[in-house]
């Protein structure tokens, strides 16, 4: 995955969990390689977020690298994330698509500059049968359907264990930890963080509403001249920092 890939639909819904885990592990390892911290949130079962965080921070296998990871819980979670998470960090959500706070966090993750992984704990049938009532987590960059067996606890633990294991396999391939050449050219020159690709919808003065990661948001456009609706821009921390040349 690189910054440009976000122009394609971000969802891997209905995909095979093993393939989704592989793609997610590659992206996660790349983020970690450039200094990302993992922020883990599981409002309905905070112990899972704690488990995932300790897994990454203090690996059970000697010699594996320690990855900065934090579990947040409680009423101040959103405020703490907003204040402490840095652009380029990774937000890991664990829980049901019926938990409004998870959607709220996933939606805010992009404006905050975070990549989102969501371990969805609903059985597929739950969601399909109730499609109208359930907002599919379109704001998440990676959706991992962690419900394959009969015990949601076991399924979820297995899924995030596998993510940890695969991510550490990726670390053994240093050549693949580099962002692709295309993505490298889209890096913010002032802070070296990756930006996200967004499509301009409407323009007004020095602001534009853009579609980004499946949601509409408002960004400052002062750094980019003469934008027109339909163009792609690289958005970083609420600011459109560069036009993406689709011709090249």
């Amino acid at each position: 995955m690189n910054a440009l890939d976000t122009t394609s639909p971000p969802l891997s819904v209905g995909g095979d969990l093993a393939n989704d885990l592989a793609i997610t592990a590659l992206e996660l390892a790349r983020r970690i390689a450039v200094g990302a911290t993992l922020w883990c949130v599981a409002p309905a079962a905070p112990a899972h977020a704690a488990h995932l965080a300790v897994e990454f921070l203090h690996p059970v296998i000697m010699g594996k690298r320690a990855v900065p990871a934090v579990a947040l819980e409680g009423p101040a979670t959103r405020t703490a994330l907003r204040a402490a998470a840095r652009p380029g960090d990774v937000l890991v959500l664990l829980g049901s698509v019926r938990e409004p706070e998870l959607h709220a966090l996933a939606r805010r993750a992009a404006p905050w500059g975070l990549t989102t992984l969501w371990f969805v704990t609903d059985a597929d049938t739950d969601i399909d049968a109730d499609a109208d009532a359930v907002a599919v987590p379109v704001a998440a960059d990676h959706v991992l359907r962690a419900r394959e067996g009969t015990d949601p606890w076991v399924d979820l633990v297995l899924a995030y264990h596998l993510l940890w294991e695969l991510t550490h396999v990726v670390f053994e391939h240093p050549g693949l930890l580099q962002p692709s050449a295309a993505a490298a050219s889209e890096v913010c020159v002032t802070c070296a963080d990756e930006g996200r690709v967004a499509e301009v919808q409407q323009l007004a003065d020095d602001e534009a509403s853009v579609r980004c990661g499946g949601v509409t948001e408002s960004v400052a456009t002062g750094l980019v001249d003469d934008l027109v609706a339909g163009e792609l821009v690289l958005v970083h921390a609420g600011v459109a920092i560069a036009r993406i040349d689709e011709a090249s």
Binding site: L21, E55, L162, L176
Partner: protein, 218 residues
């Protein structure tokens, strides 16, 4: 390419094609998930009798007004918390079964760890909170966590029911005289052990619920 490059194709870090790696990763995930499922099945089958006895003893404890205290370290601390949640919220006893995760008490655990030593954190908590007839359930993937074993000793001395979950064939828990019941996993992978322990705890909670609900039906 020099003569030995084929042995170390990416030693220069110039690997660029992620597709092959993605295929390997997905295959690895499937194999590990399969191994996890196999281990769970093997363990649940091997532990069937011990599971039944443990569930019976725990249900008996709850029936007599006993409370469940769970504890562990690291990932096992989170498993202990999930176990406390699972037992608290089973079936019609939702909100009813008295359970408490000792690992959650950050202030107490850090105070004891700082003042008397980490080996004693759970022993001291059990000493303070536990009574005869209560249940102490400790998780340790190695089976050898000192603070978990020390807590079993205190719990056993107080006349509590003691239940241990372990990996590595049981480790020190396998020979622990303070343990009434030991459910162990035959694996050396901490991840696979924890997945199987989660399954064991799930089954245990379901059996305790069934046992208590049979009571209620009478």
């Amino acid at each position: 390419m020099t003569g030995t490059d084929f042995l170390y194709p990416f030693i220069e870090g110039d690997e660029r094609d992620a597709d092959a790696l993605l295929d390997d990763l997905a295959a690895s995930a499937r194999a590990k998930a399969q191994e996890s499922a196999r281990l769970r099945e093997e363990t649940l089958e091997r532990c069937a009798s011990e599971l039944a006895h443990t569930a019976m003893a725990m249900a008996d404890g709850f029936r007599r007004g006993g409370r469940l205290f769970t504890f562990g370290n690291g990932g096992s601390a989170t498993d202990a918390r999930l176990a406390a949640d699972r037992f608290r919220t089973v079936g019609r006893f939702s909100g009813g079964l008295p359970t408490l995760c000792l690992s959650d008490a950050t202030a107490v655990v850090t105070a004891l760890g700082n003042d008397v030593g980490f080996d004693l954190v759970y022993a001291r908590e059990v000493e303070a909170l536990g009574r005869a007839g209560d249940i102490a359930l400790g998780c340790s993937t190695s089976g050898g966590s000192h603070n978990v074993l020390r807590a079993f000793a205190v719990a056993h001395a107080k006349g509590m029911v003691t239940v241990g979950l372990a990996g590595y064939g049981g480790g020190a828990m396998a020979d622990c005289r303070d343990l009434d019941h030991c459910l162990f996993v035959r694996s050396q992978s901490v991840h696979r052990i924890q997945e199987t322990q989660a399954a064991l705890l799930g089954h245990l909670a379901a059996r305790v619920r069934d046992d208590l609900e049979r009571d209620g039906a009478r």
